[in-house]
């Protein structure tokens, strides 16, 4: 069965600190896709990144970076030098079949304190 676990429910950091969000997944598929979405207070889910199971290169986009390790079934997300605008819920998700249905983790509530 496909499952995504985000163990940390709420994380508070002081502005400019780094924060890392853990995502551990379970799947029997050899080909799969992992996603991170940001959900600000407005409610809309904002796409951040998509990574396929064959690409283990880490990725950096501005202050965001992702560390994908198949050996530990993890796809962790780091926000460097956090800002108040980063306050949101962040969801990790796994595309669980050929029809692209997503299995979501429960999300990480990030609160950046000015």
């Amino acid at each position: 069965a496909q499952k995504v676990t985000q163990a940390q429910t709420e994380i508070s950091v002081v502005e400019k600190e780094d924060v890392t969000l853990d995502c551990v997944y379970e799947t029997r598929d050899t080909t799969y896709y992992l996603f991170w979405y940001k959900q600000p207070p407005s409610g809309e889910l904002v796409f951040l990144i998509r990574r396929n199971s064959f690409d283990e290169q880490n990725e950096i986009s501005g202050r965001y970076s992702w560390n994908f390790q198949k050996s530990t079934s993890s796809f962790n997300f780091t926000i460097t030098a956090s800002q108040v605008v980063d306050s949101a819920v962040y969801f990790c998700a796994l595309s669980r079949d050929g029809n692209n249905r997503l299995a979501f983790g429960k999300g990480n509530q990030v609160v950046v304190i000015p």
């Binding site: 896709y33 996603f35 079949d97 029809n99 692209n100 249905r101 997503l102 983790g105 999300g107």
Partner: protein, 115 residues
Amino acid sequence: GAGVSQSPSNKVTEKGKDVELRCDPISGHTALYWYRQRLGQGLEFLIYFQGNSAPDKSGLPSDRFSAERTGESVSTLTIQRTQQEDSAVYLCASSAYTGSGNTIYFGEGSWLTVV
């Protein structure tokens, strides 16, 4: 439009009434998905459409829930005889195709409160 559009954005209804939630996907997207998000929870998959067909309806929580899609565009999620446990945000999403890995874009959701 540029993004996925949902209406109404907020709906308060009395227990037992029927509600309809509408989704306009990104133009040209053949795949459309409905998810439900209860307060403080992750997203729960409900149903997806490939064109106008819904190959798998097993995610719908009960037979009070139904969805349809017409013209490979607009979709409507209908909840009959609403119950308080139906209170949630209903999120619609679309992607260019249903193939794995296609980026899925979400709307802002329809917040449903059943009183």
